[in-house]
């Protein structure tokens, strides 16, 4: 029966293609929209959940979180490193991790931090960088998975970072480790010890290559990531440091802000919720319209098949077998279309991946959500339903020719 169903499907190839295209466009778009939105949301909240609080220079809360957690946007400014020492000794704080973003390698950003930053991260191979010493021939650096793949790096390889395009530093970095893939922006980052960042700029300045303000980097950080001992401790730190004035080693006073990244992200996501629902609504409209097209085309196909069905009935093929045949045919069309819809959604993910990166999420082609299956199964059922109804009506009719 399967062989016959396939042959019978192939002789109506134009109608089949029309149904397939309708299903692929509607179902594929719906699945793509849902998957993208979910991955971005999951990526954003998962990344933000690692940290209890972030302390940085006064300014935009969102910019501070986006820069520290998702490595996007430019840093709000800098604050003195002494604040890290102060916070490390705070009884409410388990860990205070410095974060500085400076320089790049082949377009990938470099972050200066400490080993504590890697507590939640796993190495694919190699080791975490060690603390640099003055006079080192090269500074150690750990690379994210995408950097490792894209630049074809190897452990022990020397790389030269740059402060801006065409402005390469003379002191090399030596790759000591590669991080496991996380499907987040972390995969696109190179990590080195904070002091390496300071030293490389110091050395460059000595060689007369640096033209920017040295004070902006030396002994400064862009933000401090806080891992509090408990949620109430985190809240207490945020309340204390948000709006606080801090006097640095340079006798300057720095105005601080402290935020809970999850709260900031939730607020950003809530603002984006209405946009997300509009996208979902549009997808639903496309889906409903295409379901109508699919139903009409399927019913027309069935009407077109009436002489063929009648012919089969006349030569003695039972209603049951004819019903099975047409259900099988439509199931094949439905299943192939759903498979292509899934493929379409994954190809779509490749295209929207670049946009999603700017929001701090690396879209994974392998991420599949249960609702995607529900959408696909739903569309499959709808694609087969008109045939099921038509064949049911046919089977109710006892007579053939009268």
């Amino acid at each position: 029966m399967l062989k016959f169903a396939l042959k019978n499907t192939m002789i109506k190839i134009v109608q089949v293609i029309l149904v397939c295209v309708s299903i692929v466009l509607s179902c594929g778009t719906a699945v793509l929209a849902f998957n993208t939105s979910k991955q971005i949301e999951d990526g954003i909240t998962t990344n933000a959940a690692y940290y209890s609080a972030i302390i940085g220079p006064a300014g935009s809360q969102t910019q501070l979180v986006m820069n520290t957690v998702y490595f996007t946007d430019s840093p709000v400014g800098t604050i003195p490193y002494e604040l890290v020492s102060e916070l490390s000794q705070d009884s409410r704080v388990e860990k205070a991790i410095p974060f500085a973003m400076a320089d790049s390698y082949k377009g990938f950003n470099i972050v200066g931090t400490t080993k504590d930053y890697f507590e939640e991260k796993e190495l694919l191979n190699g080791n975490i960088f060690s603390i640099p010493k003055e006079g080192d021939e090269g500074f150690e650096i750990v690379v994210g998975y995408n950097v490792y793949r894209a630049a074809g790096l190897k452990i022990g390889q020397k790389i030269y970072t740059s402060h801006s395009v065409g402005d390469e530093h003379h002191t090399p970095f030596i790759v000591t480790g590669v991080l496991k893939e996380t499907h987040s922006m972390s995969d696109d980052i190179l990590y080195t010890h904070l002091k390496s960042i300071w030293l490389v700029h110091e050395e460059e300045e000595e060689h007369g290559h640096e033209e920017h303000d040295h004070e902006e980097l030396n002994n400064m950080v862009c933000s401090i990531i806080i891992k509090a001992k408990n949620p109430s401790a985190a809240l207490s730190v945020v309340n204390e440091y948000n709006g606080k004035l801090f006097s640095g080693h340079d006798a300057k006073t720095y105005s601080l802000q402290a935020v809970e990244p999850m709260a900031v992200i939730r607020s950003v996501l809530n603002d984006a919720d209405s946009t997300r629902y509009i996208v979902y609504a549009l997808c639903a409209v496309i889906l409903v319209m295409n379901i109508m097209i699919i139903s009409v085309v399927t019913v027309l196909n069935m009407i077109h098949s009436v002489p063929e069905i009648k012919m089969m009935r006349l030569i003695g093929i039972s209603v049951k077998k004819i019903n099975l045949l047409y259900l099988l045919q439509n199931s094949i069309i439905g299943a192939v279309s759903i498979g292509l819809s899934f493929l379409f959604s994954r190809i779509g993910l490749l295209f929207v991946g670049g946009y999603a990166k700017s929001m701090g999420a690396v879209l994974s082609l392998g991420a599949v959500y249960p609702l995607e299956f529900i959408i696909m199964v739903g569309v499959f059922v709808i694609s087969v339903l008109p045939t099921a109804i038509a064949t049911f009506v046919l089977s109710r009719k006892d007579s053939i020719a009268e």
Binding site: M1, F4, K7, N8, I11, E308, M311, M312, R313, L314, I315, G316, I317, S318, V319, K321, L325, D398, S399, I400, A401, E402
Partner: protein, 215 residues
């Protein structure tokens, strides 16, 4: 054996047709002659269970098919009866073999089809689309499909209606050759074929005339 007993058929807004009682015997060939629209095809359609008479009984090998459900009639038709339709009832966009293999949907053994195609001289056309065949070739395909399942009864509705006399006669001879030992009932308006059959039935004699009782 097929027995037609007190059978009356009436279509909407048309005069009723009453058939005389008759028994078609195993192993014999019959030709029913008559003008178009006189009820020849109706009789074949009632025998194979496509149509139901308004009155009377049609009994095939002791089973009164007129009292059966459509499903049961379908079963008898697919198992016992091979029907060659005037318009062939073939799926034009499918190949000759696919049109025969369609019977396999009902688990019918069609292994004899290759031999029949050879016998009827169209074995070289088996992979061709029916749409690309001539009328005579299509007719032969319809005959092969009817015979491939080795039916006890073969019904043919104007099997040579689309063919010229010479080809039609040749096809009929081949059909008779392949139908030996079975009941073959052919309806036709071509009287030149009567010499090929065991029994010749004229519809005017087979129908009960107005005011006459069934007999």
């Amino acid at each position: 054996m097929i027995t037609v007993k007190n059978v009356v058929k009436k279509y909407k807004n048309e005069k009723e047709i009453a058939y005389r009682d008759y028994t078609f015997l195993d192993g014999k060939s019959y030709i029913i002659l008559g003008a178009s629209g006189c009820g020849k095809s109706t009789l074949l359609n009632m025998i194979c269970g496509i149509l139901s008479p308004n009155k009377g009984q049609i009994i095939i090998d002791g089973i009164e098919i007129t009292s059966l459900s459509q499903k049961q009639k379908d079963k008898i038709r697919i198992q016992k009866i091979g029907y060659v339709y005037q318009d062939f009832k073939l799926i034009k966009n499918m190949s000759v073999m696919d049109n025969i293999n369609i019977l396999r949907l009902e688990n019918i053994d069609v292994s004899s089809s290759e031999e029949l195609l050879k016998k009827l001289g169209i074995d070289d056309k088996k992979n061709k689309k029916v749409a690309n065949l001539s009328g005579g070739e299509s007719q032969r395909v319809a005959i092969v499909r009817a015979l491939a399942k080795k039916p006890d009864i073969i019904l043919c509705d104007e099997p040579t209606g689309n063919l010229n006399y010479e080809i039609g006669r040749k096809v009929m001879e081949e059909l008779l050759e392949c139908s030996k030992g079975k009941i073959l009932i052919v309806v036709s308006h071509d009287e030149r074929l009567v010499d090929l059959f065991d029994e010749v039935i004229h519809m005017e004699d087979f129908m009960v005339k107005e005011g006459e009782q069934h007999a």
